[in-house]
């Protein structure tokens, strides 16, 4: 016979332990956030002090307070680089996204097909292996000849950098599909294509997202090189101009903006991944 009081107690005890676990989680997270905040603040104070006491020269490094002042100023002042900060950021964001999306659209399916179909792997692999080690910057002259000096050429340089992690991770992800699941699918009469779509791709999703995050990083890190090609606006151009004018404050503002936008996009991708994973769990 069921003991109603006992099961009530058990439920209450379980709820309590869950509450305690939750409280512990938030306390740990708060402590970790606090530690991160303090370490970041200490870093900024250290940076400010070494500049204020001229341990490093004013033209080698500028204090963070000046960087913040310039950052704010660049929202309303186009000098000395000829554009406002949001215009540079928008130009670079468009470029990075164009290269990144092209890499995802082409690289992920290619990696999946290479991992699943040996014939595709044998066909594409030699070319991929030959292209993979070439630094994207080495493609600049070829990109000019093929695509001119506009956005397609710059996006192509970024695409080349972002493409490789997409292919490798998708390939590895699908190669790691549990063979038991594949066998079960086949026993139940699934075709190779059905097994690929319903078993292979879903099991590769975590690796695909990791590849996309790596691609996103590669896209942002290649931005300056891509804007070396030709530019009159963009964060890479801002950094180059800061270099020509011997203005480290401009260079740092460009770098931090790239860092901020890259982190923001990476965070967004993580959110999309989490949402995707939870929706898959529900189904």
């Amino acid at each position: 016979m069921r003991d109603p009081i006992g099961s009530e107690r058990a439920a209450a005890s379980e709820a309590l332990s869950l509450e305690i676990e939750k409280a512990n989680y938030f306390a740990t997270a708060a402590r970790e956030n606090w530690i991160s905040f303090v370490s970041f603040a200490l870093f900024l104070i250290f940076w400010e002090l070494i500049c204020r006491f001229e341990i490093v020269g004013p033209y080698q490094l500028v204090p963070p307070s000046e960087v913040v002042t310039l950052f704010i100023d660049k929202f309303s002042n186009a000098n000395p680089d000829g554009a406002l900060l949001y215009q540079h950021a928008a130009a670079s964001l468009g470029l990075a996204l164009a290269g990144f999306l092209a890499a995802v659209v082409i690289g992920v399916p290619l990696g999946l097909f290479m991992g699943w179909y040996p014939a595709v792997n044998m066909t594409a692999r030699p070319l991929f292996d030959a292209i993979r080690p070439i630094p994207p910057i080495a493609w600049i002259p070829i990109a000019i000849l093929w695509l001119g000096i506009g956005t397609p050429a710059k996006a192509f340089i970024i695409f080349l950098a972002a493409f490789v992690p997409c292919v490798i991770n998708s390939y590895t992800g699908i190669r790691l599909t549990n063979p038991v699941l594949i066998r079960v699918a086949r026993i139940y009469g699934a075709s190779n294509w059905e097994t690929f779509v319903k078993i292979g791709i879903p099991s590769a999703i975590p690796m695909i997202f990791t590849g996309m995050k790596l691609s996103l990083n590669a896209a942002w890190t290649t931005l300056v090189a891509a804007e070396l090609l030709a530019a009159s606006m963009g964060l890479g151009y801002l950094i180059q101009l800061g270099r020509r004018l011997a203005r480290p404050d401009i260079i740092i503002v460009g770098m931090l903006t790239i860092g901020f936008l890259g982190a923001l996009m990476s965070w967004l991708l993580t959110r999309i991944e989490a949402r995707f994973a939870s929706s898959r769990r529900l189904t």
């Binding site: 033209y59 000395p80 001119g148 000096i149 530019a231 004018l245």
Partner: protein, 357 residues
Amino acid sequence: MKKSLISSLIAACLGCALASPLPADAADKPVVRTSAQPCLHGMELWHAEKAGWLKDAPFASEFLFFPSGAPQTEALAADQWDCGAMGTVPTMMASMRYGYKLIGISNDESETNDIWVRPDSPLLKTRGANPDYPDIYGTPEDWKGKKILGPTVSTGHYALSATLHALGLSDKDVDIVHMELGQAMTAFNAGEGDIIVLWAPQSYMAEARGWKKVSSGTAAKAIIAGGIGVRREFAEKHPDLVVDWLDVYMRGVEMMKNDPAGSVEPLLSYFNDYCGLELSRDMVEKEFKYRYLFDVNEQIAAMEDPARLPAWLRGVADFMLEQGRISQKEYDRYAQANFHIDPSFMKKLAERRAAAR
């Protein structure tokens, strides 16, 4: 066995160290780190070493090569070199930011900062639309809206802006796309852009490809003087060494000025063997045709005459101010410091040479 192997290795290392090519007397001399670019004004100290001029000099030279002015200026800020030569814009930036002293004029490069079009360009139909500027091609209407490739914030850009001013236009009337020289040439060759901004020796390559010159610093009456300079701290600590270094540098300048035919071979070797360019003899001969070189007395006169070097630098500073690249405060400070021109080293050199005579 193991011991003997280690001993042999140590002996081999010692042997290599003892057999190093640095002569004993060179090792005793103070080192002056010279910076240079793949330009005529970078050749002097490189050639001095090859020609053995440094044997009797009271310093040893360490030659540092930079592809352009921006990394050269950064290396100056990091105290990586002492004396050298750069274009006007990096010289100006180095002076404004780091107090870099301008101690001489490497050459007048007004003619070699130039603007080119393809042979079918409509600009070539009209010459001297403004009679005050007879060597500029094209009417203002021809120039309007054209896509121009080249490095911005450079002496080439200064020549371009002066050209546009001469035609009653400004940078806003055209589409300037910032590109480094090599990439701009590749793009222009592939049919991109309508006009390209270059400087020598790339200008000679443009001429060899059949492109046509439509303006230059000279045509637009913008005088562009390349600078010889020294890091401020080095000049303060070792003024005599700066004069010694300048003596060798000026020997190179005077060799090119007085014997251009005999200087073609060393300059060709510098460009092709050292800098990795591919220039022909004809191209290098043009270096001496287009670039005016100043001897010691001419240098002093130009530096001390407010209507010459200070006025030329003011022109470039005005351009930078107008473009919004420098602030009014920076401009005023720079002008107040007389553009960091310091003729004292050149004067000491003149005195020393007079005494030796």
